[in-house]
Point group: C3
Chain length 207, copies 3
Amino acid sequence: MKMNFAITLCLIVFCGLSLAQDEDDATECSPCEPGLCDFLIGFGAMTEKLADSETRLKDTEKQIVELQNKERIKVIFSAAVGVGHKNIGPFNTDPTLIYRRVITNIGGAYSQSTGVFTAPVAGVYYFSFFYHAGGEHPVNLRLYKNNELIVDTSDHQSKEDGADNGGNAVSLQLTQGDRVYIRMAANTHVWGGDLPTTFTGYLVAQM
Amino acid sequence: MKMNFAITLCLIVFCGLSLAQDEDDATECSPCEPGLCDFLIGFGAMTEKLADSETRLKDTEKQIVELQNKERIKVIFSAAVGVGHKNIGPFNTDPTLIYRRVITNIGGAYSQSTGVFTAPVAGVYYFSFFYHAGGEHPVNLRLYKNNELIVDTSDHQSKEDGADNGGNAVSLQLTQGDRVYIRMAANTHVWGGDLPTTFTGYLVAQM
Amino acid sequence: MKMNFAITLCLIVFCGLSLAQDEDDATECSPCEPGLCDFLIGFGAMTEKLADSETRLKDTEKQIVELQNKERIKVIFSAAVGVGHKNIGPFNTDPTLIYRRVITNIGGAYSQSTGVFTAPVAGVYYFSFFYHAGGEHPVNLRLYKNNELIVDTSDHQSKEDGADNGGNAVSLQLTQGDRVYIRMAANTHVWGGDLPTTFTGYLVAQM
């Protein structure tokens, strides 16, 4: 289309000149005088280059938005049981352990009322959990992904050792809406203080 | 402005031709011969498109620099107490525990001489710390953000159990200059070896 | 080059007109009629601007690809020993502990058959490992980078305490091909179950 326009323009502008110079010799109307037609071809090429640049720029802007969106999504939480200077458990059921003292909750994916983390975006997440407990009862904290038991940490009852410590960590590929939480096994306990028994998770990479 | 230029040019180029063909009929000087004026209007539109592309490209370049700067900032450290095959403590004060064996210190935010990590940029950071200790004294390591106690790990004295292990981890939203460090509570101790008692932290996401 | 072209074109187009109007006065052929030459100079400037934009756009696209490639590379694994309800060890050698139950292996850098993680790209990685073990034997798990011992976690034999727990974590700057793995020291053991004894690592930042 641009070339047609260039030739048309070439004919109009240049043939105008030719006819003015020699009215009888219309056949001398060359469609392309070197300088002018180079210019018109150059203009056509430039129009195409600009259109190409605009397309590439639009694509570039779209890709930047995608990168920025990925960069913008931040999902990180930490919480401690925080029920005071006492044990939680033992119970004869295996309740979800609710970490009531929220230390960090960027993205709001951890629920302080249920103890459940719900993945807001698909990706790979890292979770770590630690406990402190007295030795008079066993300990068993179990990390679940939805209804699947993934990893745990446990200790036996130990009359001679006043306290138990443990923890574990795992990375998990989650789809949006997957739930991750800690259950305390029946007949086990942990220490309920503000500081030692914690649950942390965060988005390592969107996928 | 471009249209004025186009009309001026149209008159100069095209009316020149008209006058050459028919010197008596200046009124035939139409300001816009279709082909030529389409060209001139096209040129004006192209000039505007190019200016628009240049503005968008400048903005795009700025956003890429922002993304690159975020990507470039890396803050990660790991250190172990590393004072040799002996206990550190107990003391009757609660000193900052200095991890003298620096394993990683990308960004240089951890000070080997003070044991303090100082956030070089605002963001959310993840910290983990682990200890090994003999059972003859209690253990209590406390992670602080500035002057605020965040999480800890501790164990009782236990004559029957030769050794204690523990650790904890937490994510913290920090502003630039916030300080994070571990204090060892009065009358407690940890093992001073190169390998088991460590402190690690890194930037998860700038904010 | 563009200015030469503009002047040439100016001469051809405009001098053509001049000669048509007054065949005897070739000296009136001014190389630059204001309107036309402004146009031609404007066209030359636009050509240069477009070429400049194209260069910058190309550079921008390259930088986006670099950012996307960094964003695309995800390296994360978690595995548990997972050999069933029994101890692993003690042995009179210090074998690499093979974590056979692979929970996550994004990027495929962890080998289920050797227990070795091999860095697929240069960068800083975070590793954590946790164990559970009965008290009847000591425990000593050692994290190596190639042949260098980096951190460990250990516990003594303890008849009175039925179980031991421990762990450690470290960040390591690795070059492509560096190997990270856990060795179990001679005469020590860990529990072989699916859930408590784990090894996790991931790429924190490419470098």
